[in-house]
Symmetry: C2
Subunit: 493 residues, 2 copies
Amino acid sequence: MADKITPRSEDYAQWYVDVVRAARLAEYSPVRGSMIIPPNGYELWENMRDGLDGMFKATGHRNAYFPLLIPISFFAREADHVDGFAKECAVVTHHRLMVDADGELIVDPEAKLEEPLVVRPTSETIIWDTYSKWIQSWRDLPILINQWANVVRWEMRTRLFLRTSEFLWQEGHTAHATEEEAVEETRKMLDVYTTFAEEWMAMPVIRGLKTAAERFAGAVDTYCIEALMQDGKSLQAGTSHFLGQNFAKAFDCTFQNRNNELEYVWATSWGVSTRLIGALVMTHGDDKGIVLPPKLAPTQVVLVPILRKDGNEAVLEAARKIEQMLRDAGIRVFLDDREQYRPGWKFTEYEVQGVPIRLALGPRDIENGVVELVRRDSGEKQSVATEGLVETIRKTLDAVQQGLFDRAKAFREVHTNTADDYETFQRIIEEEGGFVLMHWDGTAETEARIKEETKATIRCLPFPGQFEGTEEPGVDPVSGQPSKGRVVFARAY
Amino acid sequence: MADKITPRSEDYAQWYVDVVRAARLAEYSPVRGSMIIPPNGYELWENMRDGLDGMFKATGHRNAYFPLLIPISFFAREADHVDGFAKECAVVTHHRLMVDADGELIVDPEAKLEEPLVVRPTSETIIWDTYSKWIQSWRDLPILINQWANVVRWEMRTRLFLRTSEFLWQEGHTAHATEEEAVEETRKMLDVYTTFAEEWMAMPVIRGLKTAAERFAGAVDTYCIEALMQDGKSLQAGTSHFLGQNFAKAFDCTFQNRNNELEYVWATSWGVSTRLIGALVMTHGDDKGIVLPPKLAPTQVVLVPILRKDGNEAVLEAARKIEQMLRDAGIRVFLDDREQYRPGWKFTEYEVQGVPIRLALGPRDIENGVVELVRRDSGEKQSVATEGLVETIRKTLDAVQQGLFDRAKAFREVHTNTADDYETFQRIIEEEGGFVLMHWDGTAETEARIKEETKATIRCLPFPGQFEGTEEPGVDPVSGQPSKGRVVFARAY
């Protein structure tokens, strides 16, 4: 029996928790802020990983692995970096447990580490320490490495996928001989993330630059993609950082350039995480459950045979034939022939889990050479011919993929507004949510004041060409000071 | 320039370290006992992971993810388990760093956790805590889950891949309604490991049961595969544990059986780790470097164009054609057309890295419609026709894969001896190494005495049919007591 799902209109936050649980994507663990990712959630992550990994490799990157535990002295080397992460570090201080006189299992006080180790919240420090040993000459550059790993950032208030103490992610770390090349890499990886978000996740994103206040700790520039969730809040879905020579200087990583001069290496880092699963849920989900884009769905088609008291063998045989036919065509199909559950129960189950297409097959259908097809995104039901089914399924999967993107994009367009005065801005943020384009004077003071008064932050300084008129100069309505252009505000996850 | 490699005959341990470093499979990190796995090593692990993962999925398992940090109270629940792991746990005690009055970055004493957390050394405890919530009825069984993860076991003496504080692995954790089914699963996964070791790694293994002294902490029975390294030492390459109801009892995990009775759930766990990379190196490597079995080699064929001062375009064009042809045939080929390195340098480099086949192509070869082919395993060099090259490469890759297995198996046969008296046993262990089959009385006392006196341990009680006569009863020559059969002794990694 499916768990109850609170309607979105009633309580969006509760809907999110209900859906994530009912679809068995994740659950809280006994360790505060950590989550358990059951197979349904993990297989979705595997598909995301494989999709991204293919793109990383196609752009010349190779995977590697660096240690989980990092000496705290490494963090001390880059001032902004330590400021950003010191408050949320899980720290290993001992290497042994023991049973005390009362028979209790305790931390062995004799086994204290000489230097405490931090469970990586991100790996710039350990990686730049390594690169300083790997790099001597321009011939050693560029280094284009990515790591798939778990990281820990101690969080007091957590939400499944969106903000958890431990999460899974990838972190790219590249080293370059020139500033120009490093900036180009930063932008290129933002392009990769954009493609992934829009073409795989069917989730339209805005691309732009973060303000200094929202920048990664240790970066010169942070680029981001931002997606709009159904409740009108923005979600940062991926970031790509131009690190300048900050980490190279902190770890004394120099190289001999082509003119035999010693220079500091230029750096980038970029990452996306299991947070994307939360974004996916909140972009496409509805009151019945999650809705998965076909390109990422672990099961693209579920096939439910309608079994009666007798004559089931013919139905099962026909179902197995269809299953085989679809599988041979490279479609991820699952035949749910379990007899202990009724078809209606299964229908609900796969709706909750967001399987893009459901096929049902009964004795009458076989006689007529058809199968019942239901699209998860629209609920549309049709009877389609078994002959040519592969082609029908392929087209339908494409249509669902495109349909989800179009719907999300239309939603975003409706929920993107322009404000010319602060009152209108405040009203929109409070009542409608969504993105608001408004002039900003470029100061941290105004940015902080707006955040304080409206809980809206500058999501990004958008790249040109995404919205009309954002590049035109004007006046910041909050401070009355000149503005170079409109920026994107929203409340955010 | 390739790093110097100590010959195996001179110092096997040093050879191992040299080869792992020269082939850029791994290096030590600044954190004691942790390693960095550069792309060459990590891509090998990716191929191992993908090979195993395919077999796990084909046997009905799904991947999931459980938290890295485990409350210490969980460990206290299973007595043997805590005994086995308490001495090697990395313990998180704080969740914040701070800058002290002297400007030093320190652990914030105010941020002490209420309950210390252990960085998982293995996940039975957190997983069985979870299963106790997931399982109510026989309908919820079996649960067949695998996790790919990093684990930490604090080690004082470490060796790259073989024994490191942090390593990567997979851990399967399954839950069953009956003892019979759980035992069957334990054996089935040992079969999977055997197939992987022999057919993918080209590494013959002995299969058997561990003695109580060598059993996993918390298991009823531990099955293992053991491989013989070139220095005559055994290496445990994979283990599969029948856990009985131990963890179910510790975490109160019961289910309603078909007769509506409450029963404890039956469990298994099984794992292999990055240790396999060490095993691979020590099974096939030679004084020139590592030797990779084609099924796992990230690069199966390297193609080196012989470039002169001029006329290179024709060579490069022909090389690119060959590259494309092989790639289209699904062969993992790499064209090394870098001009800053000479062909001789490249030849050495790919020898060190163990690429199974090297092709070289010069202007003369193009005229003659041939390409030079060198097998890494034998060093055999031949001129082969470009026409039909795909077929030649395929056959050669198969021949290398089979050849490596045959060679390792022949080595093992030569280094497997039978001893009927303790003096002979001691002499073989000391002078020749390898596996020694000897009667054992089944007592921990005799086992401990032999270990103490010879450093040899019982690697396993071999499954029947692997060696002649191991099932026949006899007399333990050490104790003079009756023995049910011969067991496999060796010094081990």
